[in-house]
């Protein structure tokens, strides 16, 4: 099976300088992720998984090394070019949902499309459709504080999906949810993966990582292991059926 690489990190390092002290958050990370992969970045806090996600998500730039996303080298782009890539290629999903508190579900989902210059009527149409797809067709005009945690995270997923990005980047997506709602959200990610989306989940939770087909384990800014998880997932599904 020939696989198309979506993003490629080569010798990526990230160093933070805080006065006298320097912190090497990432040290010489090499990583290639292919289309329609379902990857977990797992590691304890301070392992560098969040820094890696920020770099993959174009919120941050590596101190050294190269990063090629969709055949575009992005390591040296300026702020505006990075903003454009975030808008078109990346869909973020955060632990605390990060919804706009004063905007209803529909407006939250429409927001990224504004920066793409899409007219209001089309924006509305796209956002409504996406919200219907995540099962919130009847909650279009609810404000975030009128929605449950699971519903909020689904709004956030719809917002990440609406621009048809290349990658969904989820940072501890179930961290603020109770376990049954967390399972629903993970089922949704599983489904999105089946429908062809590329998904990266950042977590410290092995149970979440178990949903993914590939687990990248980080420790002290380095990749500790990079394992295929298919057999395990297969086992779990078999177990569940039993």
């Amino acid at each position: 099976m020939s696989r198309e690489s979506l993003l490629e990190l080569q010798h990526v390092s990230k160093r933070y300088v805080m006065g006298e002290a320097t912190l090497d958050a990432l040290k010489d990370v090499n990583l290639t992720i292919y289309r329609n992969e379902y990857v977990a970045f797992i590691g304890p806090s301070g392992s560098g998984k969040t820094t890696l996600m920020n770099i993959v998500g174009c919120l941050d730039k590596p101190s050294s090394g190269s990063y090629i996303l969709n055949d575009t080298p992005v390591a040296d782009l300026d702020d505006n070019a990075l903003a454009r890539i975030r808008n078109r290629e990346i869909g973020f999903i955060f632990q605390n949902f990060n919804l706009l508190g004063r905007a209803d579900a529909l407006r939250n989902v429409m927001q990224p499309l504004i920066y793409r210059g899409i007219p209001l009527s089309e924006r509305k149409h796209m956002a409504t459709e996406t919200l219907q797809n995540v099962g919130l067709g009847d909650r279009l005009h609810h404000l975030p504080n009128q929605l449950s945690g699971g519903q909020r995270q689904r709004v956030a997923i719809a917002r990440a999906l609406v621009g048809k990005p290349s990658i969904l980047l989820a940072d501890e997506p179930t961290g603020n949810l109770d376990s049954s709602t967390g399972r629903d959200v993970m089922a949704m990610f599983d489904n999105l993966h089946k429908n062809g989306h590329t998904i990266i989940i950042v977590t410290h939770d092995q149970n979440i990582a178990n949903h993914c087909r590939r687990v990248v384990r980080l420790m002290d800014g380095q990749v500790l292991s990079d394992t295929d998880n298919v057999a395990k997932v297969g086992n779990q599904e078999a177990m569940r059926r039993v």
Binding site: N54, G57, L59, D60, D79, N80, A83, R84, R86, N87, R88, F92, F94, N98, L99, L100, G101, R102, Q111, P112, I114, Y115, R116, G117, I118, P119, L120, R159, G163
Partner: protein, 408 residues
């Protein structure tokens, strides 16, 4: 463009979300614009009514009065324009008409009596041409005629105010009033002119010049004012020059000495008035500029607070792909909207106050808000919004997305 509209919507939403805070923020602008609009409308109205008064005098009329600088007056010098001056001008200057003397009886107001009623009134001695020169015509009866003047007849033409003040009959013609101990028969009532600067122009008695002169005593050489019309306005300067020449010779002024009289045209009088009005306008303009500055600082302050409060929101926008310019635009528009709403409220309040004062005070009855004041008010408040909105907007745009998203 879509982002602009969206920023506009978001700005209105944010202003509405903090209605009280927004109102307090824009209060400085509201007061500044309100002050400028109210004052401009009143000054405009006042100028207009005064200008129309001056225009009533005609653009071709001249007034000659004695004049000494204050320090000369304090030094005891006396300057007079006299009947001799009048006669000389009459004989030596061509191209003029309506030459008439004005002789005030008493310095300002003197008592006028009718039966047991007394009131203080301005009493002027003049000739028939006074009516033409000042646009003062009788409503009832007649004005002074040449015969009255020649015969020093004791007749008077009165302003309407005296009818009420002295409890004169509704038709006062033929009644007698007492001025300086002498009886005058009322032969005419002047058409009402109303008030100017709180000065009642209808509290006036006009008697024949010769009569006024004899009231003061024949031995006194009175200081008079002379009014005249120049037939051809192009000759205005030449006539003024000729009159000055005659008066300097009559008053024995040497070549180095200053004039002890003034020859004024209505446009000069209007010019004096206009320069006073302009000075008032500039001073008020300065006050308004300070208040707009204070208003602008208020807006900047609140916008800076708002940027800090909404750090996380800005982080979300950035993670969704907002560029620096998108964030900048959004906050700048919010500042401008605040300032402009303040401007609109100020405009309406200022207009209201102007109209109210105009309604209550007759001198301001012609008040109106000129279009340039509206443009200026909007331009200034919009400008204040932009100038004082840039710093907070730039601060918002420069936020690091990761830091912003982490902000609690």
């Amino acid at each position: 463009m879509y982002n602009f509209l969206e920023s506009l919507r978001s700005a209105f939403q944010s202003v509405r979300a903090h209605a009280l805070r927004s109102f307090l923020t824009m209060l400085g602008i509201v007061i500044g614009v309100m002050a400028v609009i109210a004052v401009v409308s009143l000054i405009q109205g006042f100028s207009k009514s005064v200008t129309s008064e001056f225009n009533g005098l005609g653009t071709n009329s001249l007034t000659i009065q004695s004049y000494l600088p204050r320090k000369d007056r304090l030094a005891g010098k006396i300057a007079k324009v006299t009947t001799d001056d009048l006669l000389n001008i009459q004989h030596a200057v061509t191209g003029i008409s309506g030459l008439s003397p004005i002789l005030p009886v008493g310095r300002f107001f003197i008592p006028v009596k009718y039966r047991n009623q007394t009131t203080n009134s301005q009493v002027l001695g003049s000739t028939p041409d006074y009516a033409v020169n000042n646009g003062t015509y009788p409503e009832k009866g007649r004005f002074i005629v040449p015969f009255d003047d020649l015969q020093h007849r004791h007749v008077a033409v009165i302003g309407v105010t005296l009818i009420t003040k002295l409890h004169l009959p509704e038709d006062p013609l033929g009644q007698y009033i007492q001025i300086s101990g002498q009886w005058f028969k009322i032969v005419g009532v002047l058409h009402p002119k109303g008030q100017i600067l709180g000065f009642d122009q209808d509290n006036q008695v006009i008697i024949p010049y010769g009569t006024a002169h004899s009231l003061l005593g024949a031995a006194v050489v009175p200081d008079i004012a002379i009014q005249l019309k120049v037939n051809d306005t192009k000759q205005m300067d030449a006539v003024v020059g000729r009159i000055s020449q005659i008066l300097r010779r009559n008053h024995h002024l040497k070549s180095g000495q200053d004039d002890d009289f003034k020859v004024q045209t209505p446009s000069q009088l209007l010019g004096n008035f206009t320069s006073v009005m302009n000075a008032i306008t500039y001073i008020l303009g300065g006050i308004v500029a300070i208040s707009l500055l204070v208003g602008g600082i208020g807006i900047m302050n609140i916008m800076l607070v708002s940027v800090t409060e909404r750090t996380r929101e800005i982080g979300i926008y950035k993670s969704l792909g907002a560029r620096r310019s998108d964030i900048m635009l959004q906050f700048l528009i919010e500042a401008v909207i605040l300032a402009l709403i303040g401007g609109i409220i100020g405009l309406l309040l200022g207009y209201g106050i102007g109209m109210l004062v105009a309604y209550l005070v007759p001198a301001f009855r012609d008040s109106f808000v000129p279009w340039w004041a509206i443009v200026l008010a909007f331009g200034f408040s919009g400008g204040v919004g932009v100038i004082f909105g840039i710093t907070p907007a730039a601060k918002a745009a420069a936020l690091d997305p990761i830091e912003a998203l982490r902000y609690e």
